[in-house]
């Protein structure tokens, strides 16, 4: 499996490490590449959209010509895991002119819906298809507002969706790459696996 981490800004190293760990648990040889230029996404089997600043990431992937490649990747039905800023960038509508949303996940999002950094939190969150709750880290996290037809809500906090699946894309408000739990990577990249429990 060739995994590409969109690496223009954000917690790229954490994502690279997390996808390596997830693949290793499935005995899947993984080549992980970090992507700052166009031309690499088309060779990738799966993509990861890190956390960071959505305004910055959106601007840079647009300028470098990576944005359209990500859209093509999703159109081809290839998997993506997007977290926090990654979710915002992938959404249909970030309700903010400063973010040029890719529209590959049919949701609208509210940026920083859970407040500023002093409101950031970690908690155990129940996730559909997972038996045990997921230890989720929310950092100036967005919430999902409007969920389109065909989008599956995987988790909510106080009634607001925080994890969804839209076709090949799994997107979360929180940061599975900051913990050692690979179950959301499994949902995104190994959906038929029995490792998910």
């Amino acid at each position: 499996m060739k995994a590409g981490v969109i690496a223009v800004q954000g917690d790229v190293a954490e994502h690279a490490e997390a996808v390596r760990r997830a693949a290793a648990a499935h005995d899947e040889p993984a080549e992980v590449v970090t992507i700052r230029d166009s031309g690499i996404v088309p060779d990738c089997d799966v993509l990861l959209m890190p956390g960071g600043e959505s305004t910055t990431i959106s601007r840079l992937i647009g300028r470098e010509g990576i944005a359209e490649e990500i859209r093509n990747h999703v159109r081809a039905g290839k998997p993506v895991l997007a977290t926090c800023a990654g979710l915002i960038v992938c959404s249909r509508d970030a309700k903010d002119d400063r973010v040029d949303a890719l529209g590959v996940v049919d949701v609208s999002v509210d940026r920083n819906a859970f407040g500023r950094q002093k409101d950031s939190f970690e908690a155990k969150v129940p996730v559909a298809e997972l038996e045990e709750p997921f230890h989720a880290v929310f950092i100036r996290a967005p919430a999902i507002d409007d969920v389109g037809d065909g989008v599956e809500t995987l988790a909510t906090v106080d009634g607001r969706p925080v994890a969804v699946r839209d076709g090949p894309v799994v997107a979360t408000s929180f940061h599975p790459e900051l913990t050692e739990d690979s179950r959301l990577h499994d949902l995104a990249f190994f959906p038929d696996s029995r490792v998910i429990a």
Partner: protein, 152 residues
């Protein structure tokens, strides 16, 4: 702030949450700004965060002044202006400045050696103050740098 009520083991101000925030800034530019107009320019230019300053600390110190935290009235203006994180510097060891910055809603506090040190004896730790904002701990100043003179 939305009330979070239905979660197991909800925790705030933890090491994971604080360090996680710092990790999200990687690979980005944090711009020094002194007012909301500069903050707007920084965000439009693609900065990942802004650092609010009273003025250029080196200039203040060169004039023999005390370089402090930013004006508490200026910080909320910058917070209103931009959607990216807002950071502030506190003097080394100055717990009250750090607490004020946290109360104002600053996302990260830089306990900074470029400001005039408030003490040569101690630095802030996340165990004492503040509770939820990130603190990038300062480097203890050497007693020989004359900072005792500038103590508040």
């Amino acid at each position: 702030m939305p009330e979070v009520t239905d979660l197991e083991e909800l925790r705030q101000g933890t090491e994971l949450v604080k360090r996680g925030f710092a990790r999200m800034q990687k690979g980005g530019v944090i711009m020094d700004v002194v007012d909301r107009e500069q903050a707007r320019i920084a965000e439009d230019a693609g900065a990942v965060a802004v650092m609010v300053l009273e003025n250029v600390p080196a200039d203040i110190r060169k004039r023999g002044g005390v370089a402090r935290m930013p004006d508490p009235e200026r910080v909320p203006e910058v917070i209103d202006e931009v959607s990216i994180p807002v950071m502030g510097k506190s003097r080394i060891g100055h717990r009250k400045e750090a607490e004020i910055l946290e109360a104002l809603g600053v996302d990260m506090i830089d306990e900074s050696e470029v400001l005039t040190p408030a003490t040569t004896r101690t630095t802030l730790t996340s165990a004492t103050s503040p509770r939820r904002s990130c603190v990038a701990p300062g480097t203890s100043p050497k007693p020989s740098d004359g900072s005792a003179r500038a103590r508040p």
